[in-house]
Amino acid sequence: MNQNNLSSGYLSLKGLPKVGVKLFIMLLLSAVAFGVTGMGVILLMFTLSYVAVGRDSEASHGISSTDSSRLGGLAIALVFVIYILGLAIGSPYTPGVARESVFLYLWIAVGLCALLGLIEDMQADFLTPLLRLGLKFAVFGWLLWVAPQLLPRDIGVFGIDALLKIPVLAWVLATVFCVGFINAFNMADGANGLIPGIAAATFTVLFFEYGRPAEGLLMFVCVLFLIFNVVSGWYFLGDMGSYGLGSIIACHGLLGVAQGDFSAGFMASMLAYPCVDFVFSVVRRAREGVSPFSADNGHLHNRLHRYYSQFFESRVLPNSLTGLTISGSTAGVCLLIYLFDGLAIESNAWFYMFFFETAVYFTVISVLRRRQD
């Protein structure tokens, strides 16, 4: 993609051969997986990726070396809403959100988080970081106050369980967790296929567990976004995508743990990378004396990308390989263990998997730091 193509506004296909090949691969994969519908979603994402608003220049991002759109979240939201509305209108089913207040509150909170992200995607720094953080606390504070069913009473961790027995403390801890989690999701949205891969694996598990259409549709749209993101590199999830998907996963994760459907260890191992990388990055920046929330290139995905870049001339391939390596070796492995019944989803033994992933994270990042610094 050259700058002239993008700066001119809507669609300009001057670099058609390269664009055409990528588009053909994406359409082929989506047709095999999801037929005409899948091709339609890819075409919609392709169209939206050329919209002039919400673009990241290559200089503004740590990994991506091509101009990319930040409207991935908008594309996902559009497809999801079309399907949900279509099913609600066209089929005889009544969605659960219409009959269970907890889901109504949950989706209102998700919508507000996604809207907050969309504003940021459309115009960067429109809201000050402090105001954004305050709004996120307000949204999740409200949600967990009106829907206390989301608060887990027992996560199988000595000490934290005692704190969770006190309702006000449980509310505070869960609110801090949710806000921290969606920020972690946003921070890790750097490499192609990293967060979409983790999200697709998580929604697959949630759909297999509950069979709700919302998770089925999110799995469908995340897989298609993963194909688009990995093949082309023209999209990031953006703040809307990472806040939206992050809040859905955080809330459903809390609800599942609170209901005893799966263990906190399982969710921790599924979502190990964004959580561990977020905590590690905040601590690292605090030790270096810079703001814990300032952007830098010290994440594991930045270092892994630098490592892969030595072997490939392509600008997209090392980026996609980085994302797929991380999402595949964390959430992907957990998904396989789940699908092949390797470990019961309610088992606290999943915490051992989480500790193993954390150990691998620190081993790999320290090896890469020694080589690269």
Binding site: G35, G40, V41, G86
Partner: protein
């Protein structure tokens, strides 16, 4: 500035993609209606490899649609506040 060949191409591609997506929505809705009419007897759920479904929904989508319909019996409600399985068998409770 905003209206020209580029915007026309954008609108055209947008409309074509929406029509393709809506084909899938319509197909999925029709399948759920068929399954309810058939009383969830398995005909719709097992018909994963039919030509029309594969064309519209693909291999993954067709299986996903079957899973949605199958799981929908347990988790969703049909035209009232009772689960569909209860509606299908209103007198299933044994007499006291």
């Amino acid at each position: 500035m905003l209206w020209g060949p580029k915007l026309s191409r954008f609108v055209l591609l947008f409309l074509v993609s929406m029509m393709m997506i809506l084909t899938g929505v319509t197909q999925l809705s029709a399948l759920t209606r068929q399954a309810v009419v058939a009383g969830h007897d398995g005909t719709v759920i097992n018909d994963v490899w039919s030509y029309q479904r594969l064309l519209t929904l693909g291999m993954g989508g067709s299986r996903l649609a079957s899973a949605l319909i199958e799981r929908g019996q347990e988790t969703l409600i049909v035209d009232s506040d009772k689960p569909s399985s209860d509606i299908d068998v209103p007198n299933s409770r044994p007499p006291s």
